[in-house]
Symmetry: C2
Subunit: 349 residues, 2 copies
């Protein structure tokens, strides 16, 4: 089959690779209908995270189940399924606690699963899915083409934005600031709106993303950053900051801005994977009672809650996709995101 | 009047100082009935925090209102009152958000208040209390001598232990670990029990404190620390750790132990003032979805909730006092705590 392989800095190719095979008894083979490129895929693409040897890549996909192992009881061939950006059994203590990203038996796409066997990357034609009954969520009926982008966001960005909002404690009447206007930040706006936030400020400098943020429920846009941005936020909220700040970037600057934009006693919900230099200043946090909660989002635990609203159009997170390309053009997909010509690219094998 | 003055490392004296005077219109003069020494008082006493010039000290006291300024409407002369370990107006945005330690107009005992005028330290005969209507809580009736220790804990340690539990999200059925067996840690056990925790582990090596922890609701005691302590905790909770860990010390070691004892997705509620070297390891927190929330405890906001249970004996946090001395023996009170001959000392002027 064909699948995406990263060779090194800005060297990404669609290669012929071995077809996946059922191996563990609890796995499934899924034919990918749509996949996408994640902001986090850009770290190795840009060489910030070095690539020592060619590596399969991609962790967001939806598709149709082709066949399942003998121990799979819930998922059936023909099911249209959503896969989260990792695999998990949904039966271990961490999964049951709502933290399936810490599944005691789970693993990551494009790597050997903890229970053994290779789990393909998502940017390919087929994927072997470990723990199929835990990992996959079957959509009740075959979706329409228009529903595909929204469903695909449940694999990562919508669930991740939701996790930022949940971690920050967004509830009815909360005041919210979202730091970051990538696909996750935009989904965080949508999640905050859905959870009842009374006011949602999107920190964004891009007109096209501001427009989506507005459509998703942002009541205000702040373009300023750093000290100026913090001052603008404080001025909007009694001089003290917002109840909940959703950090969706993961840099030193964005985390600093998030913490300083939070009112005393408020919470930073963070989902931006922290890159070099991110610090949590314990004295400032202690003195102001600002909390920090979040992490790698357990999106699998959120799919059942969000799926019905995607299917019936109550929420439309699929708007974050602004470019669709065939899988054969995966190199262009990466380049478009790297050069900020696209917010998020949908790939169809 | 007589009040406690810290001159330098382990040099603390009861001095004759000026009597306090009403000055701001919204203040009150309180005759101290009981005060106490706080673990945090030991930092300057030990010279860890240097003392450049003689300084009034003490921030926990209860007493009787002698007179009030012309703008005071709620508090009346003759009221028996509890003062939190800071002053606050209870009308600003932060106070209304439940974070009175970040009062926009408040201040600290033994220092000039933000609105002007000196607010006496608590370890003395009299105290000028700024923002009397906000700061002070009047007890409904004159308390009995037996009630005084419990009431005094509402000035700091009981409210601080409660804040650790609330910040960690302790609720019915939570599994809880308390790091620290000082007065705050013991009160945190009591607070967790009160909030419905199903299992409470006290990490303690002192038999007398273990006994109080048991009386306050601890179901288990762990004496081990560091890696061994973390392993013991994980073994008790599905191999993954506890839902809520209450950090009541403030050292690098205690915070590390707290974070590593928390299950994925769990929360560290911390109230130990962070001293040199405390770090929040963002990558570990992110990867495990462990949150960190807490800080300098807004105990004023908790007094109304806790007071009835202290008065009717439902909770008995006054047990944390294991030594009572006259104010004249304040130097011995500090020495007893410094040398760990006492957990917490009650002083009576």
């Amino acid at each position: 089959m064909r699948a995406t392989v990263l060779y090194g800095e800005r060297d990404i190719r669609l290669d012929e690779v071995p077809d996946p095979q059922l191996s563990t008894g609890g796995d499934a083979i899924v034919r990918v209908v749509a996949a996408c490129v994640c902001g986090s895929d850009l770290w190795p693409y840009r060489g910030v995270v070095p690539t020592d040897s060619p590596k399969r890549i991609g962790h967001e996909f939806i598709g149709v189940v082709d066949r399942v192992g003998p121990n799979v009881t819930k998922i059936k061939p023909g099911d249209f399924v959503i896969a989260p950006f990792y695999d998990c059994d949904m039966t271990c203590a961490n999964c049951l606690n709502g933290v399936s990203t810490s599944c005691l038996h789970g693993g990551w796409w494009g790597a050997d699963d903890r229970v053994g066997g290779f789990a393909d990357g998502g940017q390919g034609e087929w994927v072997r899915v470990p723990h199929a009954d835990g990992t996959l969520v079957a959509v009740p009926a075959q979706p329409t083409p228009e529903q595909l982008p929204g469903l695909l966001t449940l694999a990562d960005v919508m669930g991740t934005g939701h996790h930022a909002a949940v971690s920050a404690g967004v509830t009815s009447g909360s005041t919210v600031v979202v730091v970051g206007d990538g696909a996750v930040g935009l989904c965080a706006v949508l999640a905050a709106k859905r959870l009842g936030a009374s006011r949602i400020v999107a920190m964004s400098r891009h007109a096209d993303r501001q427009a989506i943020a507005r459509e998703f429920g942002a009541t205000d846009i702040v373009e300023a950053r750093g000290d100026e941005g913090v001052a603008a936020i404080k001025a909007m909220f009694d001089g003290i900051g917002a109840d909940c700040v959703l950090e969706c970037v993961g840099t030193k600057e964005s985390m600093d801005q998030a913490i300083r934009s939070t009112r005393p006693g408020g919470m930073v919900g963070y989902v931006g994977a922290p890159n070099g230099g991110v610090e949590l200043p314990v004295r400032r946090l202690f003195n102001t009672n600002v909390g920090v909660y979040g992490g790698v989002a357990p999106v699998r635990n959120y799919i059942e809650e969000l799926l019905p609203e995607v299917l019936d159009g109550t929420i439309n997170p699929g708007l974050v996709f602004d470019l669709q390309l065939p899988l054969a053009d995966v190199a262009e997909a990466y380049a478009a995101m790297d050069e900020r010509r696209a917010t998020k690219v949908l790939l169809t094998p």
